[in-house]
Amino acid sequence: MTVPRQAEEWSYLRAACAVVGLLVVAELAGWIIYGSVHHEPTALELTQKCLRREKLLSVESIGDDAIAVAARGGALATRVEGNGVHLAIAKSDDEAEEIAQAYLQTAGRNIDARLDVRGRVVYVWEAADGPSPTQRQTMYDCWYE
């Protein structure tokens, strides 16, 4: 009785193959349409979202830090385990270097320990001895550029 059984199975399998084909077409169509209308979130938006949702931190505007405010990718302030940090996102490696240099020239004592650059993201920590490993890792976990 195998052949009739397999014939019955085939009717279901044929329909399933059609569904899979439709899913593939839908994914391809969705990709084309999505790509034409969607704008990717910025690195700043992704960072803010990550800090708020994944790390459960409060995120604030940068206030009177003129160097960070001028960063073309945006900037934000937050506090990790009691240590405040300003984060500035550059649009290029050169701009990140310029931001770091500006901090080194103007930001006061122990800036070497407090300043951290990762790719195009510049961090300036509040504590005089800079961030602890866990504080730094928390920010790196939400690193976008």
Binding site: Y12, R14, A15, A16, C17, G30, W31, R53
Partner: protein, 438 residues
């Protein structure tokens, strides 16, 4: 296809040859793959050492939410490895995992023979799918609980299928099934969906087999009681210390359904899923992460190391090749799964045992989607394909079912289909070998 005796014998030989070859690769990988490169490796090794040496469980650190089953075995393995003066004593645990994968392959063969007797093409296709699916070999090389949970989950599915196929409702068989499900929960919480599927299918069988209803309900009761009793000390321990018996990690306050955008559930990851199938591409989309980690190395545990330079050109080409090769296997498996689901829904009383294979991938997908949604991470860490490892044998059976159907329907093209299948599988083989240095 129903096979005559000679073809059946050939099919068996081929199936055992594939299993033997996979066993050699799995054990070889376990002896060369650096344990520290695997998923959460340091946490797993610390857990195992602490458990066996000091008799203590981790307190709110590391993998404290993971049951101790594998770590007890792995910890004894480390002790044994140290007595044998191995350079890397954790290798004993890795070899145990390799053997667990091989054992799962044998159980898969037993399962498909029980569910579809005499259909050798189906059996071989299922075994080959399982053997060449990289997530199996990757996990089998690591010091990690997943392969052992896959072995126990598959053993439970085989026992449940045996009960239904042979109408074997003896109490000791039901107790064996309950104990297996209980032990599986003591290895990994993901096996809870195996418990749910097994109990549901037994209940459906009880409803649709009036003559056996009383016996089946007794089986269901015995299975449920034992499957709850065996892991209950672990759950009680977790509840006495944490908010949850399963995974007491912090998560956003908002409702589960709003923790991920729609794109997380429907995003295809195109074109990066084919051109850049590795982290951090499409890190906020479920399907492409699960797919590329299953068929490649999205998280950088097999061919490249995350956190430094992106994969080299050579590695990138390997990952791109696997992303393409995995596609026909995946699409055929999904077709087989949908067909079996439809059959289960339309005719729940007929071949109830096949519902085990149809429902396990559904439960695994639902569980993984829930976990990835409830605990969102920016890097997709909660969407590992290995979380669904317990469902890979069922996916393999779905693939075998669909491939066998295609070969039966297109009999004249069957040599072509079989050749294409063999060539695709062979192209996957180089990726199955672990490299000692990356």
């Amino acid at each position: 296809m129903q096979a005559p005796d000679s073809r059946r014998n050939t099919g068996r030989v081929v199936a055992y040859c594939v299993i033997a070859a996979a066993a050699v690769i799995a054990v070889r990988n376990a002896t060369v793959y650096p344990a520290i490169a695997g998923y959460d490796a340091q946490e797993a090794i610390d857990y195992a050492e602490g458990l066996v040496r000091d008799g203590r469980l981790p307190e709110a650190t590391g993998s404290y939410y993971t049951p101790p089953g594998f770590f007890a075995v792995g910890g004894v393995g480390i002790e044994l490895g140290e007595r044998l003066e191995l350079d890397h004593p954790e290798r004993v645990g890795q070899v145990v995992n390799a053997l667990a994968a091989v054992g799962t392959m044998l159980l898969l063969l037993a399962l498909v023979r029980l569910l579809w007797p005499g259909r050798e093409v189906l059996h071989i296709a299922a075994i080959v799918f399982f053997a060449v699916c990289p997530v199996v070999m990757k996990s089998a090389a690591m010091f990690h609980p997943e392969p052992l949970s896959m072995l126990l989950s598959t053993a439970a599915v085989v026992l449940a299928a045996r009960i239904l196929v042979r109408s074997d409702y003896r109490l000791r068989v039901a107790l064996a099934l309950g104990v297996t499900l209980g032990l599986a929960q003591l290895v990994r919480a993901w096996t809870l969906w195996t418990v749910g599927v097994v109990v549901l299918v037994l209940v459906v069988a009880a409803v649709t087999r009036p003559r056996d209803r009383g016996s089946l309900l007794r089986v269901v009761a015995a299975v449920a009681v034992v499957a709850i009793l065996v892991p209950s000390p672990w759950y009680a321990h977790q509840l006495s210390r944490y908010d949850s018996a399963l995974f007491g990690q912090p998560h956003p306050e908002e409702p589960v359904w709003s923790r991920r955008p729609l794109g997380f559930f429907v995003g295809s990851g195109l074109p990066e899923v084919m051109t850049e199938p590795y982290r951090p591409s499409f890190s906020r989309q479920f399907l492409p992460i699960a797919y590329t980690e299953t068929w490649g190395d999205y998280f950088g545990v097999w061919r490249w190391i995350p956190g430094g330079d992106p994969p080299s050109d050579s590695v990138r080409r390997q990952l791109q090749r696997m992303a393409i090769l995995g596609l026909p296997f995946t699409l055929v498996a999904v077709a087989g799964w949908l067909a079996l689901l439809a059959l289960a829904l339309r005719r729940p009383g007929r071949f109830a045992e096949r519902q085990l294979v149809a429902l396990l991938p559904l439960a695994a997908l639902a569980g993984a989607v829930y976990f990835g949604t409830a605990y969102p991470t920016p890097d997709g860490d909660t969407v590992k394909g290995s979380f669904m490892l317990t469902a890979v044998p069922a996916w393999a059976a779905c693939f075998g079912f669909a491939f066998d159907g295609l070969v039966w329907r297109f009999r004249r093209l069957s040599p072509v289909l079989l050749t294409v299948f063999a060539v695709l599988a062979l192209f996957c083989v180089p990726f199955l070998f672990a490299v000692a240095e990356r």
